[in-house]
């Protein structure tokens, strides 16, 4: 699927989305609901008001950062299905390191910035280490990273859930959650009021995308990673240590997943809670990255689309009877179509345009 040109990929992504939404609308109709109303709810729920737009942008930032994490690994020919687990581990590390460090720092703005830095570093380091684990297993024990990362997701969710239920639980709380972070920790919303979304978060996200894009295309490290993905034998021939490269890639990917959860904890939740209840950003990120043909820059529009879809989910849940799991199904159909560029090429040939690749 990586043999398509940029224009082809863009077309495939667009058609996949349209066909998947069309199929979704058919299912809505088959379930006895009005598809026009559903489509309207989908759009209103994503961008219908300032509050909904803020929700869309907030979710988009999480999808963009986790999507970049997936893209880094996929580009290097390694499948990191474990972003969800790295996200969960990073989120807990972020929240707990801030809570532990809080008494030692001043409570004002400067202390808050210090705490956020500590939390962000802790999230990136722990996410990176959790990502390095399947990397080491792949490089030195030849263990399939698809399987190990999925197993590590289950382990991370279960173990963190246990930690938050037992030793790290908020004193006297009936909810499974950590203590709230100090008031000095958080990003000012700038434009959107109390929405759990900060324009600063979006700016940081875009900056991260730019940094990753530069690292991937302009540094020796990124070059080694990418050649390993596309031309493994050439990479080894030019002196790349393939094993170390796999570990480095997975660590980098996991660290970015950790950054996503730092943003999640600091900008949005203000604490960490039951990981099984957190949206599956790490899994959806696979779809985001694939839609973007694993290009860090392409992840931005793909992430915005997923932010919109998921924001609309909340709206549809409240204002209509259509079961919202449909959206997850639509996401799955998008992934399935993206996997089959040949289907679209053949369709295009049938329709007699764009057949020049033969």
């Amino acid at each position: 699927m990586f043999d398509a040109t940029v224009l082809e990929r863009f077309g495939i992504a667009l058609v996949s989305i349209l066909v998947a939404i069309l199929l979704g609308l058919l299912m809505v109709a088959a379930a006895g609901h009005n598809p026009v109303v559903f489509l309207n709810n989908l759009i209103v729920g994503a961008i219908g008001s300032e509050r909904m737009l803020a929700r869309t942008l907030r979710l988009s930032t999480f999808f963009i950062v986790t999507g970049v994490a997936v893209a880094i690994a996929f580009r290097a020919g390694v499948f990191n299905i474990g972003v969800q687990g790295q996200f969960v581990v990073g989120g807990l590390a972020c929240a707990m390191s801030i809570l532990w460090a809080a008494p030692y720092l001043p409570s004002g703005g400067l202390g808050g910035v210090g705490l956020m830095l500590i939390g962000t570093v802790a999230a990136a380091v722990s996410g990176g280490l959790y990502g390095a684990l399947p990397g080491v297993l792949k490089a030195y024990a030849d263990a399939n990273e698809i399987i190990t990362t999925i197993m590590l997701n289950f382990i991370a969710i279960g173990a963190v859930s246990w930690l938050i239920t037992n030793p790290f639980r908020e004193a006297g709380s009936t909810n499974v959650q950590t203590e709230p972070l100090p008031a000095s920790v958080g990003l000012p919303p700038v434009v959107f009021g109390e929405s759990g979304f900060s324009v600063i978060g979006l700016v940081l996200t875009l900056a991260l995308v730019a940094v990753v894009a530069v690292v991937m295309t302009r540094t020796r490290f990124g070059y080694d990673m990418m050649t390993s993905g596309y031309q493994a034998s050439a990479a080894v021939y030019s002196g790349v240590d393939a094993k170390r490269n796999v570990v480095a890639t997975m660590t980098f990917s996991g660290a970015v997943a950790g950054l996503a959860s730092a943003l999640f904890v600091i900008m949005y939740q203000g604490r960490f809670l039951e990981p099984a209840s957190i949206h599956t950003y790490g899994y959806d990120a696979i779809a985001v990255s694939l839609l973007a043909a694993n290009n860090p820059l392409g992840v931005v529009p793909a992430g915005l689309l997923f932010g919109g879809l998921n924001s609309a989910t909340s709206y549809i849940q409240i204002y209509s009877d259509v079961p919202v799991q449909l959206i997850d199904g639509i996401v799955g159909i998008v992934i399935l179509f993206v996997a089959v560029p040949e289907l679209f090429r053949m369709a295009a040939r049938r329709a007699d345009y764009g057949g020049e690749d033969e």
Binding site: M27, I147, A159, F337, L343
Partner: protein, 349 residues
Amino acid sequence: MSVVEYAGRRRVRLVGLAVVAALAVGVVATVAFDVPLDRIFTVGYVARSMELAAPITLAAIGGLYAEKSGVFNIGLEGFMIFGAFFAAVGTYFAGGSGAVHAWAGIAFATALTTVLAVLFAVLLIRYKADQIVAGLGVWFIALGLAPFTASVIWGSRNSPRIPSVGRLTVPGLSEIPYLGRIVFDQSPLVWLTALVVVGSWVFLYRTNYGYWIQAAGENPEALDTAGIDVNRVRYATVIFSGAMAGLGGAVLLAHSSSFVGTGQTMVDGRGWLGIVAYLFGNYNPIGAAAAALLFGGVDMLQGQLQTLNIELSAKLLELLPYIVVIVVLGGWGKTRVPASVGEPYETKD
């Protein structure tokens, strides 16, 4: 020392180490903590472990056939979810509460997942879909659409109570100590699974078609030269893998009381364990069944410990099978994969 030799020795060392470790844990548990091992590893424990292993085994056998022939079906988890869900739907609409209705549900589920597997096979083989990505797509579709349709039908992601197939008790023979409860007082679906395991082994290693399947994965060009249509063999195995995973999901449902569509659904990673099971079993149906039995046993262990009020968090115990997978994969590594897995085959004519 060659790499193969090293891996071989390492495997022996590892198995030895595992046995010693298990014995040590057993001794420490009985002596120091007074854990009643004889009350944990009961006959019922073995029988129920087999019940838990059956769905994983079926998915594993399907997956190993597909991968043997050169196609990695990573969508097993998704097919299992569809299987469990369709079985619930079939049983529900068959009405009544007898074992007959449960069987009807299982047949319905297997038939419907076979149809889905045909579509999947066409995408993978005719349209050369990326196998990993398409398989993940199937998983996501199942995770979304099964609970969606459940909500449409039952107004909830979970189904109402569904009748089960019950146990097959052979009068007289079931009285035999130990063996009676494990073999002659067992779910008929465990029997069915055992039949599939043995049948698959015979088919794979003792028939011509079995050799074609192996050739399709190892050396498709040679098979093509011999006049056998490689892609037709692959269609057969991919469709079979979907059908078996669907049956596995249906068996899972028939052993429980209702379809659960919340979270990762009731399948909860068993399809992934199926993939791991055939990797451990080195693509041998009997090895895969043994590995699945290991997962079933570990899974059952937490239930056993809980009934004995042994203070270990249920949440942590639930992680045991996944940890076992990581440890064994880390020590054991990947078994030898068929040479042409993942590559679409194009006839050169």
